[in-house]
């Protein structure tokens, strides 16, 4: 699946001079660095609220992807998956490649991730996966591509770059 790239991701960057706010494809965005994302993630881990981090990411990206596909008339399943992978890369989250998607599950591989790279630059390796935001993104990508509602998929990291694995392997299961 998803072997040919028929659609190119369009990125419209706008800075509103009046409000001083920034938008990508009509979604308000903001630059933040790896220190910020690492410390937010560490906070979620420390107080055992990683699910909030994951679900907030999923909700946000679900809305972003749904808006983009709707406004650009993207209806093909492969196009949705490819464009979602491209968007992940464009906003600096890293690189993801979909290995497979079935009716109820899927596998996604990542050889590069902002959070893992930033975390290791800051603190070195860690004994647990840390890419909860990426998990949320992938759950959103599956739900939007398969025309399912928000919160239809659970994504976990079976392998993780920050743990010392060569790549991160995300396992996705339909709830």
């Amino acid at each position: 699946m998803a072997e040919s790239k028929n659609k190119t991701l369009l990125l419209e960057n706008i800075f509103n001079d009046k409000t001083r706010r920034k938008y990508i494809n009509g979604v308000q965005t903001v630059f933040h660095c790896h220190h910020f994302i690492s410390l937010y993630t560490q906070l979620a881990i420390d107080i055992d609220e990683t699910q909030i981090l994951k679900e907030t990411a999923e909700e946000s990206f679900y809305n972003t992807l749904t808006k983009y596909f709707s406004e650009n008339n993207i209806v093909d399943f492969n196009d949705k998956v490819n464009l979602a992978c491209d968007y992940y890369k464009a906003v600096g989250m890293g690189e993801i490649t979909v290995e497979n998607i079935t009716l109820y599950s899927g596998v996604v591989k990542s050889t590069s991730a902002h959070i893992d790279k930033g975390w290791m630059a800051k603190w070195g390796k860690y004994d647990k996966p840390v890419n909860y935001i990426g998990c949320g993104y992938i759950s959103a990508m599956f739900a939007v591509a398969l025309n399912k509602p928000f919160n239809s998929y659970e994504t976990i990291e079976q392998k993780s770059i920050v743990k010392g694995d060569e790549y991160t392997l995300f396992k996705i299961v339909r709830k």
């Binding site: 308000q28 906070l43 107080i47 909030i52 906003v91 989250m93 890293g94």
Partner: protein
């Protein structure tokens, strides 16, 4: 003051970045993402709303701390960058100009439309934010102050100006603290942030 705030905002707001082949954006001494504001404010709001009230103050501190660390390292990356040297550098006459320039970039990067309204070098800085995404969390009625990011970055920028030479391995980022005294989310016309020396270190 030599700083042309509007010119800096105009030029620096046009910066467009995109992940490289591996999806990484590297610049200004850090790795960068450009995620939606509703994600950042949504996480902070849900986290605090879901917490045991006894943990609220400590968690708010950690949200501010995340921005303070970010502001210290990214802020240094900004003022050491070629873009800064080219656009802001010619306007700089003293340390205070560096701070005003930094807040122009703070605005250009859409963290907040914020500027310094009072500055006592090394002792106190008052920042006003006229429009900022952290206020968007309030949809009805008034909330408590929620601009944790502005608090942290304001304190960090002040530390870059007055806590000595940048040292990535030190606690200098924490030399000052910032309190939010007004907020759009609280029903005020603007957000107000007061930076003073951190008396807890």
């Amino acid at each position: 003051m030599a700083i042309d705030r509007e010119q800096i905002i105009k030029e620096m707001s046009q910066m467009k970045v995109q992940g490289d082949e591996s999806g990484i954006i590297e610049g200004f001494n850090v790795f960068i993402t450009q995620l939606s504001t509703d994600f950042w404010q949504g996480f902070a709001d849900k986290l605090l709303s879901n917490l045991d009230p006894d943990l609220k103050e400590a968690t708010e501190y950690l949200l501010v701390n995340a921005a303070q660390v970010c502001g210290y390292h990214t802020g240094y990356g900004i003022i050491a960058s070629d873009d800064w040297k080219k656009i802001v550098g010619p306007m700089i006459e003293n340390v205070e100009d560096v701070l005003h320039g930094a807040f122009a970039i703070f605005t250009a990067w859409a963290w907040a439309n914020a500027e310094i309204v009072e500055l006592i070098p090394g002792k106190k800085m008052v920042v006003r934010a006229y429009n900022y995404y952290e206020a968007d969390v309030a949809k009805y009625g008034k909330t408590e102050p929620k601009a944790y990011m502005i608090r942290g970055v304001s304190a960090a920028f002040f530390a870059l100006a007055y806590a000595g030479e940048y040292d990535p391995d030190s606690e200098k980022y924490n030399a000052f603290s910032c309190e939010q005294t007004k907020g759009i989310e609280c029903g005020d016309e603007y957000g107000e942030f007061i930076v003073t020396p951190n008396t807890n270190i």
